[in-house]
Symmetry: C3
Subunit: 328 residues, 3 copies
Amino acid sequence: MPGPLTLGQIASQLGGRVAGDTGVLIRQVGSLQAAGEGQIGFLANPKYRSQLAATRASAVVLGAEAESLTELPRIVADNPYAYFARVSQLFNPVVLQPAGAHPAASIAASARLGARVSVGAGCVIGEGVQVGDDSCLYPGVVVYPGCRIGARAIIHSGVVIGADGFGIAADGGRWVKIPQIGSVLIGDDVEIGANCCIDRGALEDTVLEDGVKLDNQIQIGHNCRIGAHTAMAGCSGVAGSARIGRHCSIGAGARILGHLEICDHVRVSANTVISHSIREAGTYTGMYPADGHDAWLRNTAQVRHLDALARRVRELEKKFEATGGGNG
Amino acid sequence: MPGPLTLGQIASQLGGRVAGDTGVLIRQVGSLQAAGEGQIGFLANPKYRSQLAATRASAVVLGAEAESLTELPRIVADNPYAYFARVSQLFNPVVLQPAGAHPAASIAASARLGARVSVGAGCVIGEGVQVGDDSCLYPGVVVYPGCRIGARAIIHSGVVIGADGFGIAADGGRWVKIPQIGSVLIGDDVEIGANCCIDRGALEDTVLEDGVKLDNQIQIGHNCRIGAHTAMAGCSGVAGSARIGRHCSIGAGARILGHLEICDHVRVSANTVISHSIREAGTYTGMYPADGHDAWLRNTAQVRHLDALARRVRELEKKFEATGGGNG
Amino acid sequence: MPGPLTLGQIASQLGGRVAGDTGVLIRQVGSLQAAGEGQIGFLANPKYRSQLAATRASAVVLGAEAESLTELPRIVADNPYAYFARVSQLFNPVVLQPAGAHPAASIAASARLGARVSVGAGCVIGEGVQVGDDSCLYPGVVVYPGCRIGARAIIHSGVVIGADGFGIAADGGRWVKIPQIGSVLIGDDVEIGANCCIDRGALEDTVLEDGVKLDNQIQIGHNCRIGAHTAMAGCSGVAGSARIGRHCSIGAGARILGHLEICDHVRVSANTVISHSIREAGTYTGMYPADGHDAWLRNTAQVRHLDALARRVRELEKKFEATGGGNG
């Protein structure tokens, strides 16, 4: 772990403006609640202001609007959360695993690994795979033959890249397998969380563009294209042949059905199912509300009669109009 | 990869009727959009007819109803999609991995592997496991002791077969583990996608019948039985002791609750929760609709008052009847 | 497998009262439906009483209220299901894997494994990891550096413990990674099902308290705390920084959104999304009902007009009141 830095040294590396003692020594980051001597915290969300008053951190990163809320040595930054991320990167190497291939990894002779690539124990890299410089594959990642991964990738354990997409054709009550002859193409600066699956394409490639960030247990079906800098939270999934734009956010557990297009800058809320293409940026939600079980039972029983209910209301409206509707 | 075939040679192997030049040489399949010289495409869905006009493929597979839409050399088939799958199999071996056990696989001495079985690096095959002829276990598959897998299975990376089912009994605020002494029994011609889990039975076996096809990240609980030729899309799940019939289709993200029965030929739509047994073939759906976030907020607030709303409508109907209801 | 025991020997080890022949020899447990000579079944749920009449088991475990329903040799227990679990443990060792580290496991030199720990083939145990006595890691488990696991853990194949939480900060259309410098702390007597992911904390630890039981494919986000003796069914998930109380049950496919608190003794039904903190014990549900596809289409179309429907009903009520509302 890198040595301590003064607040002034941090600001000279990362920018921002120091208020208070520039010489205070910082060794590590921490939360406002748990940080102590030698640690720097951050305030990015006004709802945690009370934690700022109580913190025992040695310094704090915050925005100009919160600068006067504390006497602590502080760095004032335009985007305190991103700034804090960079401070943390100074003290904590992002990747825990050394460069090179672990002896217990299985790497095909024809695979091409870039400079400083790290491959953990138990990884299996198939024939013809390419991995760009400075990428890290944590233990137990499987990359099927022919897939390409860009530079600075972080691929967590249990990820499977390039397994066959789910291509089957019905034929007289049996299924005929459709060979999946596309591949997977992953851009630069992509992170993929533990136990995700990125299927190879049926005929062309499945593509994750630069800067895509995937949390754990995400399923990306064959032929999908995930646009640059789109982030997907845990357990979300994209069915085959869907195209998601750039700079989108897909919430945890959300699901994008197949053969859809989602334009750039769309936010899909957690546990929302997208069943039609989205052509306008914005936030889309579709979560059934939880309730006490008995209340749920009562209300949910009506969901299956909603159409009838709407017709009954229309009927009442019509009848009411026919009587003169209160104007008579 | 196998060498090129003329259109006539393809039809003589697979059936169908050639229209146009039977001698055109085909080397690979492709989509109508991307195929070029030496490739054969297909048209199975009328909504892609415009692609047929524009394609640069050398030949195409289509149905009789579309035969006259193109001048290209073509094969007319009853089921163009299944036919195309078979053409693709001619040019692309379905399994990318050679027969035999990779040296980095761990195979118990008492395991019995059939002829031409392929076991990838990092696979772990427990004591007493049986695997039928021509099956392929991609890298990193774990099969717990005693499980049996039929012939021609394709098991993708990260699959876990035979882990303990979730059997716990509450006892004074603690949980007592119920040993899972059943096994897993998998029929012939089954494909299991990456990172799926098939739990062993609590007392008897968990069963996947012949021809079952599972996409990725599917969870099959203990004691389940999945009927022959049923297909399940990614991230779906079946809770313990459920029985699903033959020739069913379970959509992506769908979930079948425990101790249910679903009869043959049922289609469950994506993201649908089945909480009662289904005794009649057909398509079942239960997806909460997504909407713009603000509209969702407004509408979803009413879901928790649906029962009250229905009662208010009934009240209005009664009152209206009491006044003579527009007939007066 | 341990040898046979008489019914009397079982009761002398586990308690309970024997009715009928105490000398009957039991070799194994079974379900009432499938058990035969030498097997003991159980009746815990009155709806299976008809199976009791028909069973060919040699003996049965049941509650006092059912004691007179059979002539079979029987053990009467307060909690027949938990009692049966303990009987099964007598005949079936809970863990199928021998103690010690498989040669195909990769264990960092600085890892500390307790007495009788079992580590399967393909497991990867990172630097500084601690594992308590009598724990079992099935093949293919990955534990990232610095994580701690208590005694008597059962960790099934494909589990990933300590991968980075999903911490990214938006900065000018790009994502900046926030180093995940917390760890994972797992108490005693925890079981974790196949292919689960437990992310390491962003700044402090992710914690699973004693006696937590997780089914397969569960995602636990960074900084979460799961209270003691809470059980979660398959494919459920907890987003980052959520805190779940003790003795909770989380149903299959349920999802707890981030930064929430759920108090002790809460039951969340299957496929329910919890989007607000829960401060009162009880059962909470939010499952959209499945229906025949056409009925669903009709009814679901109204969900997006519920707010308007409620306003129309209110309008009718007002108008009706204005006319004298049936009292005139």
